[in-house]
């Protein structure tokens, strides 16, 4: 499962005192490779660089199962050399997270001997003065290779002259224990800012008040407020406190435990129209057996210390609301 760590923070930098919080989007993506990319990455594990012959005879590295210009299906794999020529480069003085080298390096496009296209990777060089277009380079293999583009750790400068001819050798593409899939973790860090209206709403929740905003045109009260009335397309600004009591408009009984939620099943997940609100919000119902919850049930929030939202809603003991009184709010 992904790790997402939304830890609210104080908002020093944000203007107008709006809330912000880190949002980490991280997942280990599982990528199946298919025959051609699978052969290429397996080849890297075996210190073999494969290309593929395109419709016009060019050798494409890294290989794709289709011609990059025409889309035609390709299947003729060839082996190219682990040496090649830099076709362009860029000096990276400040390596960033995830990049191939932790010390300053050059990004390079390298046309490997026997290939007609260039491959993007890093070149380990002492400084920009040691790099030029046309320079000769060779592959430095990673010590631990699993079948990934990073098995090619980087390129390094190569003193040997370019070969006279570089006719790629045919290759069957078959290896023992072929790599058919890779796991590619990816993490991106964001700072989430919910905006003005949501900030006002969240701050009020801290005082255990539910604050909506009224549309100046249709007069409906939006909870949570989102800064605009979505049907009228105008800004909402007038603050309206709603609830705390409300009516269950509809619900379901949850019998399946949701991951990363510590709630015993079965429980009731309900839509609740707080008194004065123009639309329902969603919450759990407690304080009543799950099979006795019904549409029209009158409920009130139960707060728990340290929680931003009500822990759940419980029956108020009032008579049920008449269906006609809330059917427009379902």
């Amino acid at each position: 499962m992904p790790e997402v760590t939304p830890e609210p923070t104080a908002p020093p930098a944000a203007p107008e005192d709006v809330l912000t919080a880190p949002l980490v989007v991280e997942f280990p993506f599982t990528r199946s490779l298919g025959p051609v990319r699978g052969a290429f990455l397996t080849g890297l594990r075996e210190r073999t660089v494969l290309g593929i012959r395109a419709t016009d005879g060019r050798v494409v590295v890294p290989p794709t199962e289709y011609d990059p210009e025409t889309g035609e299906e390709l299947s003729t794999l060839v082996e190219v050399a682990p040496t090649g020529t830099v076709t362009t480069w860029a000096w990276n003085p400040t390596p960033r997270r995830g990049q191939p080298l932790a010390t300053p390096f050059a990004w390079v496009l390298v046309r490997l001997d026997g290939a007609d296209t260039a491959l993007l990777h890093a070149l380990d060089a002492p400084g920009p003065d040691a790099v030029r277009t046309g320079m000769r380079v060779r592959v430095r293999w990673a010590a631990d290779r699993t079948g990934a583009i990073t098995d090619l750790a980087c390129f390094v400068p190569d003193d040997a002259p370019a070969p006279e001819t570089a006719e790629p050798a045919p290759h069957h593409g078959a290896f023992d224990d072929p790599v058919t899939g890779i796991t590619v973790p990816a993490r991106l860090d964001y700072t989430y800012a919910p905006g003005r209206a949501q900030t006002r709403y969240l701050r009020a929740l801290g005082d255990r008040r539910t604050l909506g905003e009224r549309c100046p045109v249709c007069r409906k009260v939006y909870v949570p407020p989102r800064g605009a009335c979505p049907t009228c397309g105008v800004a909402t600004a007038e603050q309206v406190e709603v609830g705390p009591r409300g009516t269950v408009t509809t619900f379901c009984i949850v019998n399946i435990k949701a991951r990363n939620l510590d709630i015993e099943v079965p429980y009731v997940y309900a839509h609740i129209a707080l008194d004065g609100a123009g639309l329902p919000l969603h919450a759990r119902i407690g304080g009543i057996p799950y099979d006795q919850v019904r549409m029209g049930l009158r409920v009130e929030p139960v707060w728990r210390d340290g929680s931003r939202y009500p822990d759940h809603y419980r029956p108020t003991g009032e008579p049920d609301a008449d269906y006609d009184s809330y059917k427009e709010l379902i």
């Binding site: 990059p68 860029a90 496009l109 990073t150 890779i182 209206a197 979505p230 397309g233």
Partner: protein
């Protein structure tokens, strides 16, 4: 190539101020005033338009379905004929233009927004790359553009002084653009990824833009001087940098040909070039001579709200035609690493 089967024009354009940090407002709160502005210029409501289309990216926002919340700003009630592209708003405009060409609508609202500030844009854009061979290396957008810039330098097609001049000209022009993020010249600064310096790169920022399109007499009724779309086309290239000639932009060239850009000279061009070096590539692909006023708005080098920057190029070009400052203008939008995908619009005032 025959022209479009129906005359369609940009009749209004609006944009937000483009800022480095818009954390004070949600996407909907950022888009709302821009929509009001563009609609006020025509007297229309969103519900009066026959089609609505927007452009944005979940990856910028860090949230799936992020565009659904921005729809709150539109007032989609009664329900609208509406669509969304996960692309720059220039392509949303393209989709709307096609809808108007079919005759099923006479007006369209197009908007786009992007907040780059919540994430690390250089890192986020690496997720656009081939997920097997490129993305695992995290080559950032400036690094890729720097590879392209070096290829231009190696080929003798530009020099560092020329790149610096592009940067200076753009930001000087932006001094007159109240919406721009970088107004007035900036020092070129140090290399970010050599050969590109800080000044060669677009600023990172947030913003929104919107355009109203209208067909035929409807356009004339809504606007004193509509900016007629004489041609609109877009083309894509292969993804891998290693199979392309990075010093050329054949997709821009082809799109321009299809859009009729070379039929008569243009007097103005708004180019979507987030790097000075990419302006060099585009000028060559488009045969833009010294007589053409390039990026009088300051271009992407002065304000770059990703996903809206391309739409803003069309809006800026149209606005100048509406004000009578241009008679025939070219607008360009790009997407993907090193100008992989390009769109060209040719706009004219009524002659």
């Amino acid at each position: 190539m025959p022209g479009p089967i129906r005359d369609i024009a940009v009749v209004a354009f609006a944009q937000s101020d483009h800022v480095a940090d818009s954390s004070a407002v949600s996407e909907a709160e950022m888009v709302l005033p821009v929509l009001h502005d563009v609609l006020d210029r025509t007297g229309l409501k969103a519900r009066d338009t026959g089609f609505v289309c927007s452009g944005s990216s979940d990856y910028l926002a860090g949230r799936a379905f992020s565009f659904t919340m921005a729809l709150d700003a539109v007032g989609a009630w009664p329900p609208l004929s509406e669509s969304h592209v996960e692309m720059d708003g220039a392509w949303a405009l393209y989709e709307a233009w096609v809808a108007l060409l079919t005759g099923e609508a006479d007006t369209a609202l197009v908007y786009a927004y992007g907040k780059s500030s919540p994430g690390d844009l250089r890192e986020v854009l690496t997720r656009q790359l081939d997920p097997y061979h490129l993305a695992p290396l995290w080559p950032d957008s400036i690094a890729l553009a720097a590879l392209q810039a070096q290829a231009l330098l190696d080929a003798g097609l530009t020099c560092e002084d020329e790149l610096a001049a592009v940067a200076a000209r753009s930001r000087t022009a932006a001094a007159d653009n109240p919406h721009a993020q970088l107004r007035g010249p900036r020092p070129q600064g140090d290399h970010v990824v050599a050969p590109l310096r800080r000044g060669d790169c677009a600023p990172v920022g947030d913003g929104a833009a919107a355009v109203v399109l209208a067909a035929g007499d409807r356009a004339r009724a809504l606007c004193d001087r509509p900016a007629w779309i004489r041609g609109l086309d877009h083309r894509v290239e292969a993804h891998s940098l290693g199979v392309r000639d990075l010093t050329a932009s054949p997709s821009t060239r082809l799109a321009a040909e299809r859009a009729g850009a070379f039929d008569r000279p243009v007097d103005l061009a708004e180019l979507h070039a987030p790097f000075t070096s990419q302006e060099i590539v585009l000028r060559r692909a488009l045969d833009l001579g010294d007589g053409v006023d390039v990026n009088p708005s300051g271009g992407a080098l002065a304000a770059n709200p990703v996903m809206a920057t391309g739409l803003i190029r069309i809006g800026e070009a149209a606005a100048r035609i509406q004000r009578g400052e241009s008679h025939r203008a070219l607008a360009h939008a790009t997407s993907g690493p090193c100008l992989q995908q390009n769109l060209v619009a040719v706009l004219e005032g009524e002659s």
